[in-house]
Symmetry: C2
Subunit: 395 residues, 2 copies
Amino acid sequence: MAQQALPGFRDFYPEQLVERAYIMRVWRDIVQRYAFVEYDGPPLEPLDLYTKKSGDEIITQLYNFVDKGDREVALRPEMTPTFARMVGARANALRKPTRWFSTPQLFRYERQQKGRLREHFQLNVDIVGEADVTADAELLACAIDIMRAFGLTAEDVVARVSDRRILQAYLHSLNVPESTIPAVYAVIDKLQRQPRQISSEKLQALTLPQPAIDAILTLDTTTFHTVQTTLRESPATQLTADFSRYLGYLNALIPNGAPWIRFDLSIVRGLAYYTGIVFELFDTTGEFRAICGGGRYDNLLANLTGVDLPALGFGMGDVVLAELLRTRGLLTATLSGVDTWLIANDNVPLERVMREAARLRATGKSVEFALRPQTVPKQLKAAKSAGARETITLE
Amino acid sequence: MAQQALPGFRDFYPEQLVERAYIMRVWRDIVQRYAFVEYDGPPLEPLDLYTKKSGDEIITQLYNFVDKGDREVALRPEMTPTFARMVGARANALRKPTRWFSTPQLFRYERQQKGRLREHFQLNVDIVGEADVTADAELLACAIDIMRAFGLTAEDVVARVSDRRILQAYLHSLNVPESTIPAVYAVIDKLQRQPRQISSEKLQALTLPQPAIDAILTLDTTTFHTVQTTLRESPATQLTADFSRYLGYLNALIPNGAPWIRFDLSIVRGLAYYTGIVFELFDTTGEFRAICGGGRYDNLLANLTGVDLPALGFGMGDVVLAELLRTRGLLTATLSGVDTWLIANDNVPLERVMREAARLRATGKSVEFALRPQTVPKQLKAAKSAGARETITLE
């Protein structure tokens, strides 16, 4: 028999499950404070739910197959298509703004690398039906509150925030030709992950004006104030005014929130997908991949379901988060052991122990006892190894 | 885009998820009182994990496929093989008796019938490392305690208990030839689901002695006392003595437990699998399929993993249970609504509302407010539709 799980899949022994349960508990606790309600969908879905959103290229990363009823199906690689389907099917009946969350296990067939799994659990938090930046502020405030609930501080994690439309207006103001925009985005996306020299060469090859190249190469340190000033006379002033309000709302929603937030136009997420404010949470040391990413995707519901509603959301996986918490000494959840271990002194019949166990269990306590007659020292040892918080000896 | 989930798969909208969460919460609450600790494994496993236990025939019921790494894989149709693999891999290190539970989602490609889904959630509760009937009693007491925690009584649900070895000894005592035993089991298994006349004809065809036929046809109403008397002089007296102890332990573990327990030798579960005491929980009206089934499977770990440890366990699915609870008016979990809705009186800036929301959320409350300026009556209406338990008006 196979003695191991499939590569990239985790067994959760009780001591690992307790860590997962802790992460889930904090997730649920905080998102519920923000009035999000839980939903779930099937882990197996029709394949076209994913190809319609992401194109056929996504198939290379999927666990997809043909089921016994000749249907093309796939294990869910992300939650948003299921979310869109479910919201779309009941869009009229749902209270707006709709605030939903879920904690699905997701599956991707990725080339195996260190730390890269083929499954993970991902908190998904979404708001549907509010186009204003108030909703964007609520969403990011919730993500940052989760970080805080885990004991992380702004010294550990920072949120990089951007706006896809402001970036576009800024590139226009730099006279970047429309035709080169996709190639420029690709360079921006890698700005912080490759040497500036390489980014510079790529931009030169696009024959951009030198001031534009200089501005793009410093995009990740360009302040909101600079961008605001640059766009002062352009039609994009409304966008920067809205973004300014957004920053003000974040400040109101997150006490002492300023150190958590960093304006960073180099944050480029899913091009075809996001339409407005986007953000990512990173550990400040840059040691790990993004902890969380999200933003506004106002066109997706219309494209996928025909229901035209503005929407925004984020995803936060359990794997990177757990790695970060572990390095910071913040993942300390351990098995709690039983409340009470019942010890039978010599000649106390097992039935009496059982009646006492039943009585205590009825009060909500977790109770264990030796399932066959043992000496008292042996029972005490068993109680200790079970992590019992108390022993009660029956005479 | 696919507008529906796959046939046999459920979407859990918040009002359905709240029911599922309620069932999970009761499951966890009770099994933890019995000192079981939670584990989980991958929903996708190597195919041979299942064929090794159940033979190749099981493949017709599986969601199986070849993954992109050329591995034969399957969505888990049951938890026990994963459980056996995990226990087997760490058998020496685990505290005995090992008490584990899990609440996996399971998948079977079944012909679609009314009420038959292709996925369900199943509570799995297992004990490893104790051969005595004390463990069997703990296990069934736990299952019955779960019924009670849902508000069900012995008028709603009854546990039918049997012992595979006692049944075998009883059939021997009736001079049923060894060669006909598998065919006789098949008849017994259907005894309560088909007319006696048909069962009778099938037994006649096996040319059993008439007293044996008469005894088998009334097996489901044969009392433990009758069986005990019949086997008095046989080597099976030890088995009936142990079973008698088992009933005594159940009586000690379950206050007023007698009405819940019905001795019923006609309970035949997985022939190749169970080795001792077996049980099923049924609704007393016979309206539904079994709510829960389990028993002792002392050979499985040795067969599958080479680790020879006695073991026993049960599975309890969420679907039949929820149907039963619903018909009894016991599935009443509803969305709880937010704790506080903040109402902004005229000219109160949104930032002030947000600061108040942050303050309240930091105390653990769930808080919502209108994300754009609205009249007070409109905000009150929104608060009501959100099920807010209180409104606070900021002046």
